[in-house]
Subunit: 127 residues, 2 copies
DNA sequence: CTAGAACTTTGAGTGCGCTCCAGGTCAAAC
DNA sequence: GTTTGACCTGGAGCGCACTCAAAGTTCTAG
C-alpha cells in the first residue's frame, strides 16, 4: 500500500527538482532512471513519487560532480536487482571519499581567497 | 631587491602547479597572466616566482569554479594598476560568497549520500 | 657534429553536460 | 471547430575548458 501514488507531469517535476524539462528528458535518454517513466494520455510522462525521489538524489550526486556515466552505472546496477547492493554501496563509498577530498580542496582554496581579500581590504581601508 | 629572481621553464612550472604545459600556454593565450611571461634564448618561456605565485592563486580560483572569463577580468583590472584594487576586491568578495554557498550545497549533498550509504550498509550487514 | 628531448606556434579536435530546434500530437478552453 | 499550450521525438548545436597535432626551432648530452 503505497503512501503516495500521485503522478507528476514533467513540468511539475522540473519545478520540484530545479532541473529543466529538457534536462529531465536528457537524463532519461542517458539511462539514469531506475525504471521506465510512466506515460499517460498517449505519450506524456507521468512521474511517480519514487521517480521524483530518485531524481532528487541523483541531482545530489551531480552536484558533487559524479559524472553522468557513473550515475548510469549505478542505475544499471539498481535495475539488475538486489544482488548488486554491495556494488552500489561501493560506488557510493568511493564517491564519498572523492567528495570529502573535494570539500577539503575547496576549503583550502577558500582560505587562500580569504587571505587575499584580507590583504586587499587592508590596502584599501587600512585600520 | 627581490628575494628570488630565479626563473622556471614551462615544465618546471607544470610540475610545481599540477597543470600541464598545454594548460599553461592556454591560460596565457586566454589573457590570464598579470604580465607578459619572460622569454629566454629566443622563445622559451621563463616564469618568475611572481608568475608562479599568481598561477598557484589562479588555480585556487579555478578549483572553486570561477570561470576563466572572470579570472581574465580580474587580470585585466590588475594590469590597469592600483586604481582598480576596489574592483578586484569586490570581484573576490562576490566569489567568496559563491564559494561559501557552493560548500554548503556540497555538504548537504554529502549528508544525503551518507544517509544512503548508511541504509545500504544496514541492508548488507545488519547489526 | 649529431641525436633526442624540450620547446615554440597556430589552429583544430575532444568530452561533457546540457540546450535548443523543428515538426508533430493531444487535450482542454472558447 | 479551432486555437492555445503543454507535451512528444530525433537530432543538431553550444559553451566551456582544455588537449592535441603538425611542423618547425633550440637546448643538452655524448
Amino acid at each position: 500500500m503505497p503512501t503516495t501514488d500521485q503522478l507528476y507531469s514533467i513540468s511539475e517535476v522540473a519545478a520540484q527538482t530545479g532541473l529543466t524539462a529538457h534536462t529531465l528528458r536528457y537524463y532519461e535518454r542517458a539511462g539514469l532512471m531506475l525504471e521506465p517513466v510512466d506515460r499517460a494520455s498517449s505519450s506524456h510522462r507521468r512521474y511517480s513519487a519514487r521517480d521524483v525521489g530518485w531524481i532528487q538524489f541523483l541531482t545530489k550526486l551531480r552536484s558533487t560532480s559524479l559524472p553522468i556515466a557513473r550515475i548510469r552505472d549505478y542505475a544499471e546496477l539498481a535495475r539488475q536487482g538486489d544482488g548488486t547492493s554491495a556494488d552500489r554501496l561501493e560506488l557510493l563509498q568511493r564517491h564519498r571519499i572523492a567528495v570529502a577530498a573535494q570539500l577539503e580542496d575547496i576549503q583550502a582554496s577558500l582560505a587562500a581567497i580569504d587571505y587575499k581579500i584580507s590583504i586587499y581590504s587592508e590596502r584599501i581601508s587600512p585600520a
